[in-house]
């Protein structure tokens, strides 16, 4: 399966935005990790924002991928935030014993962008552009999804 190619990596200002919208098999997870790192190198982005608000489950494999991306991105001088963890997923992660070591988690995309922007400092040239694009296209990913 060529699943990794279906997860987009969008460069918004100096941030790579990764909306994960499908349940990923292990190869897709590994492929995504590699693509994020090569995009970091290619674009010189300073932040990685991974939106998992549509993920209904994070097991130890996906959890480790998130920790690994954060650690590798840090080595490449970029910071990683994971946004939109569903409450049921958060409860299960803690019970499972996963800490998501080194990963900053925030509630939604807006908070994630704010956090990354604080990290880069206020004089980001692309700030206005980021704002416009995020409000327009990606705002909806920050909304928590509910399921009966």
């Amino acid at each position: 399966m060529n699943g990794a190619q279906r997860i987009p990596i969008l460069k918004v200002g100096r941030v790579l935005v990764v909306p994960v919208q499908v349940d990923m098999d292990d190869q897709t997870v590994i492929g995504l990790q590699e693509r994020i790192l090569s995009e970091l190198e290619r674009t010189g982005a300073r932040g990685v924002l991974i939106d998992i608000s549509l993920l209904e489950m994070v097991d130890s494999f996906i959890g480790r991928m998130l920790s690994d991306i954060a650690a590798m991105a840090r080595v490449m001088d970029a910071r990683t935030v994971v946004v939109g963890i569903q409450p049921a997923v958060a409860i299960t992660l803690v019970e499972l014993g996963l800490e998501l070591r080194g990963v900053d988690t925030v509630l939604n995309v807006d908070e994630g962008i704010k956090l990354l922007r604080d990290e880069f400092g206020a004089d980001d040239d692309e700030r206005d552009e980021e704002e416009a694009e995020l409000q327009g296209e990606w705002h909806s990913f920050g909304e928590p999804r509910h399921q009966a």
Partner: protein, 132 residues
């Protein structure tokens, strides 16, 4: 209520297993958090089978408690080489592979009942139950 067997033969079957287990949890009337717990257990233990035994299966079935509660039972079976040291494998952070060592101890915490039988001759069977 039904009982289903899901074959575990490739990495993709891990995704299939957790999807089917969640669907069955929904059908059995579990709430969202329990659905997530059961899907996560399915993912962890199915991956163990793929990683350590190569292949096996999970049987998902409705369960009934003596006190009238209903629930779901998952039986993970393989005929691999067994787990050499179950006591160590049940400890947090212990892994002989590349895992985080959260699979078995984490799954035990996500379930109400957890039973593991393993021998080099017969392979491994892990049975978990979550009550509603």
């Amino acid at each position: 209520m039904e009982s289903r067997a899901i074959r575990l033969e490739s990495e993709h079957d891990i995704v299939v297993a957790r999807g089917e287990v969640r669907a069955m949890a929904v059908a059995l009337g579990f709430g969202l958090i329990d659905q997530t717990r059961l899907a996560t257990v399915a993912s962890e233990l199915a991956r163990n089978i793929i990683k350590y035994a190569g292949r096996g299966r999970v049987i998902a079935q409705a369960a009934e408690h003596a006190d009238g509660r209903t629930g779901m039972r998952l039986i993970f079976e393989d005929s691999g080489g067994g787990i050499p040291n179950i006591e160590a494998a049940m400890r947090d952070g212990f892994s002989t592979g590349r895992g985080l060592g959260q699979g078995l101890p984490g799954s035990r915490r996500l379930a109400h009942e957890f039973q593991i039988e393993s021998s080099p001759a017969r392979g491994t069977r892990v049975t978990v139950v979550r009550w509603r």
